[in-house]
């Protein structure tokens, strides 16, 4: 009899997740029909390659190649970013063309640009996007601010969902203003007085917010059907998407979009204990976010973009006190839940390697941006799969020969003995297509393990 999920060890859960990926189903739950026997074989070869690279138990047949673009597939197809965000069919078609042209072992799906109209409906204020603060050909960019006030830590910790609904969300989505009028759900207890809780739903601002939500939900679904359809079709053509969702390190949760960079730095001095406690409170929420996404998508890799732990942002002492403990707890919780944490070391992380290498072996994969890959291999790379780190500047400005020379060096050092996936180091918008091609093709040729 098969073991129940709850009774499995972390090892068994990870293995089960890979087995699930190796026996893909269609949306009706039947075995996925590949478009050709080659597509079937390629799909499984890619999954096995990545599995071997992640688990560090045996060397894969060759170095897997991943492509993790930002807006490149759309810009390369001659579209503006604005078109990619507003014309879902065009966006999906460009993404499909991109995958079929460059043929990576692993991709992250067509969802990158996101649904422009959805953001409009909700009056999203956290970002500027094409037509809304940036030019049509430019990517969306975050508008940092103190969306959570310095004195709101207690509110956040007492009931994070209430805080998000009544305070944070109305500040970042103009259309959600009505949420500020809603009472906590936990006041709904028994017959006496229960009706009072529902009076706010009669108020026009609340009704306006719900109307916007219905409309936004419909738009999100419309968009997701198109992108999901394309990702599913790519699967039948032999190209797996194995990214299952995302979560974040608690320090970045607070530092990126709640208190902002400046705000969190002030808090490190003025109210360090509150900051530490709030991050502790976020740990189970961030673990749940990753595990929930993996269950929903059936894909175990949970992406974690890391920002404020990079070299220079914090001293090593500050990193050890404020960033690493709760980040590590999230990693361990995800592993326990059968996920493969996929943190991205954005920028330089050279000074943190000895700290972050203290993780279970064969359970994670780390995207490396600008950190010296040889040094990463000697440290973190002893316990974890590495993915990266062809520089954005080289993809934009270099030549195919330069790219090949760089990839050769990567395969010789980071690729030694397995545990490495070739990829770009940072999400890229622009690149010379011949450079992207050189990265993939050279790795296919030179990256075969004896």
């Amino acid at each position: 009899m098969e073991k129940k999920w709850e009774e499995m060890s972390a090892d068994e859960k990870q293995e089960a997740q890979f087995q699930k990926l190796l026996t893909p189903k269609d949306p009706e739950g039947n075995d996925l029909k590949f478009q050709s026997p080659e597509a079937d074989a390629n799909y499984k070869a890619s999954i096995n390659r990545i599995k071997d690279a992640v688990q560090l138990k045996k060397t894969p047949d060759s170095v897997p190649v991943a492509l993790l673009p930002s807006m490149f597939p759309f810009i390369n197809a001659g579209m503006t970013v604005e078109e990619a965000m507003y014309d879902y069919d065009k966006c999906a078609a460009a993404f499909k063309k991109f995958i079929l042209e460059f043929k990576p072992d692993m991709h992250i799906g067509a969802a990158g640009p996101g649904p422009g109209k959805f953001y409009e409906i909700l009056d999203y204020k956290l970002y500027k996007w094409p037509g809304h603060g940036v030019a049509p050909e430019h990517s969306y960019q975050c508008l940092e601010g103190e969306y959570m006030k310095a004195e709101e830590y207690d509110l956040l910790m007492m009931d994070p969902s209430f805080y998000f609904r009544n305070f944070y969300l109305p500040r970042v989505f103009g259309a959600l203003e009505g949420f500020t009028m809603l009472p906590p759900l936990t006041g709904i207890l028994e017959m006496y007085g229960v009706a009072f809780n529902f009076i706010p739903f009669a108020l026009p601002p609340v009704q306006g917010t719900y109307k916007a939500l219905f409309e936004a939900g419909a738009e999100a679904l419309k968009w997701a059907m198109v992108m999901g359809g394309t990702d599913g079709e790519l699967k039948t053509l032999g190209f797996p998407i194995i990214l299952g969702g995302f979560t974040k390190a608690p320090f970045d949760v607070i530092g990126d979009t709640l208190r902002g960079t400046r705000g969190i730095m002030m808090d490190m001095y003025r109210q360090p204990d509150k900051l530490l406690k709030a991050m502790e409170a976020l740990v189970p929420i961030m673990i749940g976010m990753g595990i929930g996404a993996a269950q929903q998508t059936g894909n175990p890799q949970i992406f974690m973009p890391l920002h404020k732990g990079a070299d220079g942002f914090l001293s090593d002492e500050q990193f050890k006190k404020f960033y690493w403990p709760t980040f590590k707890q999230v990693i361990l919780g995800l592993i326990e839940g059968g996920c493969i944490p996929f943190p991205a070391l954005e920028g330089h992380w050279g000074s943190r390697l000895k700290i972050i290498q203290d993780i279970p072996k064969g359970k994670t994969m780390w995207m490396v941006d600008q950190t010296d890959m040889a040094k990463v291999k000697e440290t973190l790379g002893q316990n974890a799969c590495l993915i990266g780190n062809v520089p954005s500047s080289m993809l934009v400005l270099g030549t195919p020969d330069e790219v090949k020379a760089y990839c050769k060096e990567l395969i010789d050092t980071a690729g030694k003995g397995g545990g490495f996936i070739m990829s770009n180091g940072a999400f890229f918008d622009k690149a010379k297509p011949e450079n992207v091609k050189a990265m993939v093709d050279f790795t296919r040729e030179y990256g075969v393990y004896e």
Binding site: A135, H138, M266, S315, S393
Partner: protein, 209 residues
């Protein structure tokens, strides 16, 4: 008593530094002397940042304490006692890019190191850089950018400065996110700086001070 404020501020003791200023002003200490102490403190902060004893949070927090002190001193300072500045530096995040954290740190470090900084903000049109060079006669320009899309904006900015016949009058430095030597070469800038202290070093090398 001289130097006490410099120590409190450079050691990032916010409540103590603010209380000290209140007490000193109450006792009739010359506010110019206190202002001098803050300058000394920010020098120490800069040195500690350069020697990697301090990091960005420390730098940002020192600026926050400084702001609080200046607010207390301002009503007591006579107008027109602005000290002489080393030279003018123009800084901005290039067209299409709205990232400001890195740029703000550079502005702050240049300012506390004695430069007059003309901060053009974010998403700065090419022509704005050209016009500001013409209007102010600045000899150093810093271009900030986080995105790969900024490579082109930086190049266009350098090209426009060239086309306006101003290229020989200014030194141009770039920095931020995905910037490196290869990008510097592409944009035609004079130097790439990896952090705010590098920007100060470059400006000092070009302007003196």
């Amino acid at each position: 008593m001289a130097g006490e404020l410099a120590k409190l501020l450079s050691d990032l003791k916010e409540p103590e530094a603010l209380a000290f200023v209140d007490k000193a002003l109450g006792e009739g200490v010359d506010p110019m002397e206190l202002l001098g102490d803050t300058k000394e403190a920010m020098n120490i902060v800069g040195q500690r940042f350069a020697s990697e004893e301090y990091f960005i949070p420390d730098l940002v927090f020192s600026g926050e304490i400084l702001k609080g002190i200046i607010k207390k001193l301002e009503p007591h300072l006579k107008k027109g006692e602005e000290e002489k500045r080393l030279g003018k530096v123009i800084i901005g995040t290039v067209a299409g890019d709205i990232h400001d954290i890195g740029k703000d740190l550079v502005v702050f470090m240049l300012d506390v190191n004695g430069f007059e900084v003309l901060d053009l903000g974010i998403d700065v049109p090419v022509q704005k850089f050209v016009d500001t060079i013409k209007e102010t006669g600045s000899t150093v320009v810093g271009l900030s950018g986080f995105l790969t899309l900024a490579f082109d904006s930086m190049k266009e900015t350098v090209d426009a400065i060239e086309a306006a016949g101003l290229r020989n009058n200014v030194k141009i430095m770039i920095g931020g996110g995905q910037m490196d030597e290869q990008v510097r070469d592409f944009t035609g800038a004079d130097a790439y700086g990896k952090d705010a202290m590098a920007a100060v070093k470059l400006a000092k090398g070009w302007i003196g001070g």
